[in-house]
Structure formats: C-alpha cells, structure tokens
C-alpha cells in the first residue's frame, strides 16, 4: 500500500497547503489568517513524514518535531501580537487595518 499512500499523501499535503494559501488570502480575521498559516505548516509536516515513510529515512520524524516546536513558538508570539493589536485597535479585522498605505 506504500505507493498509493505516498502519492495520495503528497497530494493531500499540497491540498492542505493550497487551502492554507487561500485562507491567508480570503480570511478577514487575523486569527483565522494565522490558523491558515498553521494549516500550511501542517501540510509541510505531512510532506516530511510521507517522504520519511517512503524512503525509510527516520530523519523526517525529527524534522517534523522541530517544525512543530517552531510552530508552537511562532503561535505563542503571534497570539501575543494579536492581543497587543487588539488592545490598540479593539478588533482584529484585517482589511480595516489600513493606517499604513502610500
């Protein structure tokens, strides 16, 4: 079953990634936006694990662990930034954040 899972998982990974991109483009809420980024990171993880599984390289698992850690760190900082943004703006609607333009 290895072969078919491999292909299917790669496609699933790309699909999740595309959904993530779409989310970043479409969503208007900062949190939803960031959730889409998390989805993209998950897609990358899936690709890593799939490759590791396919080629019998255990390294993929390690890489995934590190990426999860990075994602956690990023999420911590990101959510803190959202809180700070919420404090000055009272909302997190992205397309109304337009003080900066030129």
């Amino acid at each position: 079953m290895g072969e078919s899972i491999f292909e299917a998982n790669l496609i699933l990974s790309l699909f999740l990634f595309t959904v993530g991109i779409l989310g970043v483009m479409w969503k208007r809420n900062a949190i939803s936006l960031f959730m889409s980024v998390e989805l993209m990171l998950n897609a990358a993880n899936l690709a890593f694990v799939t490759f590791a599984f396919q080629h019998g390289i255990i390294d993929g698992g390690i890489l995934v662990l590190f990426i999860m850690t990075v994602a956690a760190a990023e999420a911590g900082v990101g959510l803190a930034i959202f809180i700070a943004l919420f404090r000055v703006r009272r909302h997190l609607r992205v397309d109304e954040h337009d003080m900066l333009h030129g």
Partner: protein
C-alpha cells in the same frame, strides 16, 4: 482494508480543511483545524510514525489549538466574517491562481510518480521490525547526534518566543511599569 481506512481518512482531512476555509465563525474554524490535525495524526499512525503522531496530538491539538481557542475566547472574536469572499475581485483571482497552482502541482506529482521515476519504496515497517529498536530511541539518538545543532537552537528559539510573547502581551501603565493584575478588557 488499510487502504479503505486511509481513503476515508483522506476524505475527512479534506472536509475538515475545507471547513477551516469556509467556516465564517472563527471558533468553528478552529475546531475544524483541530479535526485536520487529529486526522493527520491518524495518518502518521498509518505510516508507522507513532511518536510523531503522539506529538502531533499533544503539541498541536493539545497546546497550540487550545492557545488559539483561548485567545479567540479572550478577545471575544466570535463575530462572523461579514463580507462574502466572492465579492472581492482580488480574492477571486488569488483563489483562482492558488487552485491552478494546486492542480498543476498535483498533476505533476501524479505524472512523475506514476511514470516510474518514483524512488524505490522501502517499507519502513519492515526495518523497524527487523532492527527491533523502538522508534523513540532512534529519534532521540538522532536528535542528540546528527541534529544536535537544531536541538540546541530550538531551546534558544523558545526563549526568544517566551520573551517576545511576554513583552507583546503584558500590559504597562503610562510609566512603563508592568500591570500585574487588572480587570479584563471590556
């Protein structure tokens, strides 16, 4: 049988992902994301990466998503998305481009893997059975030898994240003094 389970899982993942995208309610969207992550964990299990699957559940579903939900609740962000996405031209074209991107790549992956350039599949399972070493031990061995640099640097990354999160999230009064306890933002 395994394949059937896998494809059911595949469908669930896709549905949850679409749920993340199309749910106008942030909380529901977050819960769909939890679903995707859980489904991915099962996917990892199918691929015999038990430890990774476990971490996926603990770190992602357990920690990160709870953080998300916590923030959503904290900031009271349950308001729905007001403007329908399809009304915005830019978004439409962005979406179209992304879909083209996806289908091209998916097709390409299909073509390349089917046409025989696929690397020879090695059954991971077999190796693990053969060597008799638990996966966790292999992972931890690698982590403190081959991947020792990222391992050490990750600790610094976490330190930075902690400092950053604290400095962004804590409140100061006018003199720059930290406010320890205070009533919540109305």
């Amino acid at each position: 049988m395994a394949l059937v389970i896998y494809y059911v899982l595949f469908g669930i993942t896709v549905l949850f992902a679409l749920g993340v995208l199309f749910n106008r309610n942030t909380v529901r969207s977050a819960i769909c994301l939890v679903g995707v992550m859980a489904a991915l964990a099962v996917n990892y299990l199918i691929m015999r990466q038990e430890f990774v699957a476990f971490i996926q559940i603990v770190v992602y579903t357990g920690a990160i998503m709870v953080l998300f939900l916590f923030v959503i609740m904290l900031l009271n962000l349950r308001e729905p998305e007001v403007m329908p996405w399809y009304l915005r031209k830019a978004r439409f074209w962005g979406g179209a481009l992304s879909l083209v991107f996806f289908f091209t790549l998916a097709l390409a992956v299909q073509v390349w893997t089917v046409s025989g350039v696929t690397p020879g599949a090695i059954e991971n399972e077999a190796f693990i059975k053969e060597s008799g070493t638990p996966e966790v031990i292999l992972l931890s061995t690698l982590m403190i030898t081959k991947y020792v640099a990222p391992f050490i640097l990750t600790s610094i990354l976490l330190l930075v994240a902690v400092i950053g999160a604290i400095v962004m999230a804590k409140r100061y009064d006018e003199d720059g003094q930290e406010i320890i306890s205070e009533e919540e933002v109305s």
